[in-house]
Assembly symmetry: C2
Homo-oligomer: 84 residues x 2
Amino acid sequence: MYIAKIYVTYKPSILDPKGESIKSALHRLNYETVTDVTMGKYFELKLEADAATVESTVQAICDQLLVNVNMETYRYEIEALEVQ
Amino acid sequence: MYIAKIYVTYKPSILDPKGESIKSALHRLNYETVTDVTMGKYFELKLEADAATVESTVQAICDQLLVNVNMETYRYEIEALEVQ
């Protein structure tokens, strides 16, 4: 059993309106030290796969469903889980 | 300059409808090895703060704006950035 942690963010060239809104809100709340905010998505997937296929499965899932590869970029970590 | 990476997910007792939808979609796409999907939010904040205050600032920002503490839980990592 594996757990894949996937982080999806906009590519740097793509405008991130939610991030900009949050930055404005933080400045209004007097958190002036915040200079930049990016908002993305975070997925945790549990997979009953074997070590040889888990990474290619995660990449295929990202490319096919979770990530808009035109606008977004992603990174992931895969950890083995102990089976009880 | 610091970068804070913040991961926000629903508490385990809260229904995660987006995660359930993604799991169903993955099963329809024949990714039957996926047993569980959680969808959350991911924030990256850049802060011009000093080491003594950066962690308390990040916690205050999460509690006040980024996280609904009734339904969501969060974890964060803070890294120092080299200033060019």
